[in-house]
């Protein structure tokens, strides 16, 4: 028990008691932590601004017997732009939930932290975040070890093959022959979009928004990755239905 310093980004905050919040912070030094921010819902609290969603803060945390307590906080970057634009807010919420669901508490992962921070900095600036988000999702899956197999058939491993489509169950694209042997539930994926997914792995997050993408392709690769991530998480994501309702993909 004692005080520790950490920098991190607020993944989520929940109402707690009369005027408190429980915040989940993804920190560079300690991984994902949860702490109570006492009085943080009172307008005059010193913690009110620093405990807003997506804020990058330097925190002084008191390690308690139960939940840790946020003692002091200083804003490094507020990421206010992400709360002032509905679409960006929806994407940032989706990323937050993604990290919150997949990352266990107190597991240090500074690579993911820096990648997440870089992602938010890009998201803040771009007009069309769809491709940035796809690249973020793919790269995050890779960090987790859930990278979808795109270069070969996920079942038989053959490199040269005719793709039948994408299977969340098999963890990647599967070839026609394997599909005919034992059919599985497939998500449609055209040849050009398969290529696009492969390129997104290598893409620089800062320039990917400049790529041309038609709405049909955006919907196809978006739906594919959302379905694959939900399959891997084994649960639906709340922020995803919000994001999809804004994108009007119906």
């Amino acid at each position: 028990m004692g005080l520790y310093r950490s920098e991190g980004i607020i993944l989520r905050s929940r109402v707690f008691g009369e005027a408190d919040k429980i915040i989940t912070i993804f920190t560079k030094e300690k991984g994902k932590i949860e702490a109570v921010a006492r009085g943080a819902r009172r307008p005059r609290s010193r913690l009110v601004g620093a405990t807003q969603q997506f804020t990058y803060l330097k925190a002084l945390v008191f390690e308690g017997k139960g939940l840790d307590q946020l003692s002091q906080a200083e804003i490094v970057r507020s990421f206010a732009v992400l709360r002032d634009d509905l679409i960006k807010m929806a994407y940032a919420s989706w990323w937050s939930e993604l990290l919150d669901v997949f990352l266990p508490l107190e597991e240090v992962n500074s690579d993911v932290f820096l990648f997440y921070l870089a992602g938010l900095l890009v998201l803040e600036k771009v007009q069309e975040p769809a491709l940035v988000s796809r690249a973020f999702e793919l790269r995050f899956l890779k960090y987790l070890g859930y990278e979808p197999v795109l270069d070969s058939c996920a079942r038989c491993g053959r490199d040269s093959f005719v793709s039948a489509g994408f299977s969340s169950e098999e963890g990647g694209v599967i070839c026609q022959r394997c599909y005919q042997d034992k059919p599985v539930k497939l998500i449609p994926l055209s040849g050009s979009n398969l290529q696009l997914l492969k390129e997104l792995y290598q893409a620089d997050l800062r320039i990917v928004h400049r790529w041309d993408l038609d709405l049909a392709s955006e919907i196809e690769i978006g739906r594919l990755l959302f379905a694959f991530i939900e399959y891997r998480a084994d649960k639906p994501f709340k922020s995803l239905s919000f994001l999809q309702s804004l994108l009007c993909w119906e």
Partner: protein
């Protein structure tokens, strides 16, 4: 093992279901009630039952009322062209206490929350749009909380109301009265600079 007689433990159990009441406070309240006069206890019990049975939400604005439409909706002296949208009935009371606003209200009963999965269909947004379609409202004031959920709600509402050719405004954000500038966080301060006014 239960150390209390049955009626006492039942009372403690029920009181501890209330928000913010833990087992110790529930125990203290139960003893207080036991030591109070029968009349005091009956007054409290009947106030609770009366509030539960006679209160409902106004069919028009969603505010807490005994009769629907509520007093605020029936009041013809109020500005019929300005509508203030709030998250909770408690916010109507807070705004009424200022005596600054003389228009109508609409209570959403919550706020959009991407992370909690609360979408537009969970709030009274469709009722709000019905009210706006009458053409009587000229300005909608969005008085949502200045947190992420409130921002999401305000941005979403602005997006669907603006095409209806209705003026949409948002409550100003900035410094609290009596606050010390050096303790104000950078987000609030930048909003205050953004919304500065000529004097």
């Amino acid at each position: 093992m239960n150390y209390y007689p049955k009626p006492m433990s039942k009372l403690i159990k029920e009181l501890s279901k209330l928000p913010g009441i833990g087992p110790k406070t529930a125990q203290r309240l139960a003893f207080y009630l036991f030591e109070s006069s029968r009349d005091e206890v009956l007054k409290l019990a009947s106030a609770m039952v009366e509030a539960k049975e006679s209160l409902k939400f106004c069919d028009l604005c969603g505010h807490l009322t005994q009769d629907s439409p509520c007093q605020l909706c029936r009041d013809q002296s109020r500005d019929q062209q300005t509508l203030c949208v709030v998250e909770e009935p408690k916010d109507v009371i807070a705004l009424e206490k200022t005596r600054e606003f003389r228009g109508k209200y609409h209570v959403l009963h919550g706020a959009l929350s991407p992370l909690e999965g609360i979408g537009p269909e969970d709030l009274t947004i469709s009722k709000l749009l019905q009210r706006l379609q009458t053409g009587e409202i000229r300005e909608v004031i969005l008085a949502c909380d200045p947190d992420m959920e409130g921002e999401a709600t305000a941005l979403y509402l602005a997006r669907i109301i603006k095409p209806m050719q209705i003026k949409v405004t948002r409550l100003a954000r900035g410094l609290p009265i009596g606050g010390d500038l050096e303790y104000i966080d950078e987000v609030t301060l930048s909003k205050a600079i953004e919304g500065r006014q000529e004097i």
